[in-house]
């Protein structure tokens, strides 16, 4: 279950850590959403964030990707604090892929253009190379025949898979998945989760906010239970899901089980 230490860790932080978050806090007005988050994710590790709605899972992911400015704490990649003012957030974001609950595909672009936008405009890749890469990625995730479609002609599951491919096309070091199956019809969840499983098998480092407990148990190396803006408990899924030490975690899991989500 460990992120097997890979050679050449150049960071002074720890062996092959992709990202390290230290005492991160974030408020929206008076509402404290994150209250001192500490989390380090190693290369090839899959970390699942679980917790009730409003516990701060999505905000944490958006902070890591610098979509939300943070109030206190540090976010380190390669030993450098990426949350400092003056850091080129565009350079940071191209290293971190994020997939949103609502897909957020660009409706005026074909699937191919959605996927090649980042590589062409950000990585300055020539069009034919970007399109070759994109076509290959789309084929890998069963979307080869959707290449020239517009997003509105795809099912929710297909749209979300395209959104994943769009993020992957930037060859990110880290993928953030923000409740990517929550907006899907139940029968479409499996196709999206199987894509994520494939990514994990391929060694992608991921932080996944999810309500799919069964999926979290299968895929995570580590599960973090968030409660009121703190990581209340973390550990391997076997421990968190069967013998949680915190009463709040137990309560949450009991509710999830009662709702038939596990």
């Amino acid at each position: 279950m460990t992120g097997a230490p890979i050679s050449g860790g150049t960071t002074p932080l720890g062996p092959s850590e992709v990202v390290r978050i230290e005492s991160l806090s974030k408020s929206f007005g008076k509402l404290a959403v994150l209250r001192g988050i500490d989390l380090a994710v190693r290369e090839h590790e899959v970390v699942c964030l679980i917790g009730a709605s409003g516990s701060g899972k999505s905000t944490l992911l958006r902070c890591i990707n610098l979509l939300e400015p943070i109030d206190a704490g540090r976010i380190l990649m390669d030993g450098a604090d990426i949350s400092l003012p003056g850091v080129d957030d565009n350079k940071v974001r191209r290293r971190i892929g994020i997939v949103f609950q609502a897909f957020n595909l660009f409706p005026h672009m074909s699937v191919l253009d959605n996927v090649t936008l980042g590589p062409r405009r950000v990585l300055r890749m020539p069009r034919d190379q970007a399109e070759r890469d994109a076509t290959e990625l789309l084929a890998r995730f069963g979307l080869a025949d959707k290449r020239d479609e517009y997003p509105d002609r795809l099912s929710g599951g297909q749209q979300q898979r395209v959104a994943i491919v769009r993020a992957l096309a930037m060859h990110p070091e880290l993928m953030l998945l923000d409740e990517i199956t929550s907006a899907l019809d139940p029968e479409l969840v499996a196709e999206v989760l199987s894509v994520v499983r494939e990514l994990a098998a391929g060694g992608m480092t991921m932080i996944i906010a999810t309500h799919e407990m069964g999926f979290a148990r299968d895929i995570a190396n580590r599960v973090c239970f968030l409660d009121a803006g703190r990581i209340l408990e973390e550990g391997p899924p076997s421990q968190i899901f069967s013998t949680p030490s915190q009463p709040r975690t137990r309560q949450f899991l009991d509710r999830v089980i009662a709702a038939g989500r596990m």
Partner: protein, 283 residues
């Protein structure tokens, strides 16, 4: 399920019903139209002063005699509004983008953009045409042309850029922030996200109000006759004074309708086609 991208799609059921009732509806519409306009026509024609009005405004001979010259002079209006429209399209977008720039550094730029929009929407067009056409050219600043046509283009551009920038701004603001966030998350800069993701969607959405403003601009092109540009309205005016008959104005009106109606229809068609492409395909 999909990101919001416009008004809701028409349910197929409505189309179905419309088709079934089509024959009867057409008949009712036809009868009602004929009755309505016959009635209006009868009321007008039966008025006691109609023969005088007909002679002053609807003289067929005068109409056809004045038409060629008016159409010839319309070339000036067309040149005027085509140049202004190109400038307005570009400057309006620029103004809208400038106004959306974030941060305290750009405060003066935002202020300028807001002032432009406020002043030129707040003043009557005719006042601006007068002030620029007579006032600024009277200053005789070296390098600035004295040609009324030049000042006509400048005036209409200033006024309509103010309107069109507001249209663009509404369009930009109507694109959900999650679209920009998705673009930024790929590493695109603010400007790239605007250029490749937000503006293309915004422009598509504002084509109808944009075209409305252009129809307004085309009509307002006659206002510049007041600073000495000899265009269609001035030509009709000259003929009216020469012939003691108002029919040239009616001819001018007919010419304007012929010019603007196809444009309106074309816009509606383009919008409908676009909407089909982006919305109707879902599911």
């Amino acid at each position: 399920m999909t990101p919001p991208s416009g008004p809701p799609v028409q349910p197929a059921a409505i189309n179905g019903r419309r088709r079934r009732d089509g024959g009867r509806s057409t008949l009712i519409a036809l009868v009602s139209t004929v009755v309505f306009f016959s009635l209006v026509g009868w009321v007008i024609v039966s008025s006691s002063s109609w023969p005088q009005v007909q002679q002053d405004f609807f003289d067929g001979g005068v109409f056809w005699r004045s038409l060629p010259e008016i159409v010839g002079a319309l070339i000036t209006n067309i040149q005027l509004f085509l140049i202004a429209e190109v400038l307005v399209l570009a400057l309006g977008l620029l103004l809208a983008v400038l106004r959306s720039l974030p941060g305290p550094v750009f405060f003066p730029v935002r202020l300028l953009a807001i002032a432009w929009a406020d002043v030129f929407r707040g003043l009557p067009s005719i006042l601006i045409i007068y002030l620029l056409g007579f006032g600024v050219s009277a200053l005789g600043i070296p390098g600035l042309p004295n040609d009324p046509f030049f000042w006509a283009v400048v005036s209409l551009t200033l006024v309509y850029t103010a309107y069109v920038s507001e249209v663009y701004r509404a369009g930009i603001e109507s694109i959900h922030p999650s679209q920009a966030a998705a673009a930024r998350s790929l590493g695109l800069t603010r400007a790239q996200a605007l250029r490749h993701v937000v503006i293309p969607q915004a422009v598509r959405r504002v084509i109808p109000p944009l075209l409305n403003d252009f129809i307004g601009l085309q009509k307002d092109s006659v206002l510049v006759s007041l600073i000495g540009v000899v265009e269609a309205f001035r030509t009709a005016n000259i003929q009216q004074e020469a012939l003691f008959n108002y029919t040239p104005y009616v001819a001018l009106g007919a010419v304007f309708l012929v010019m603007t109606l196809p444009l309106t229809r074309l816009t509606d068609y383009l919008v409908a086609r676009d909407r089909r492409r982006y919305l109707a395909g879902a599911r």
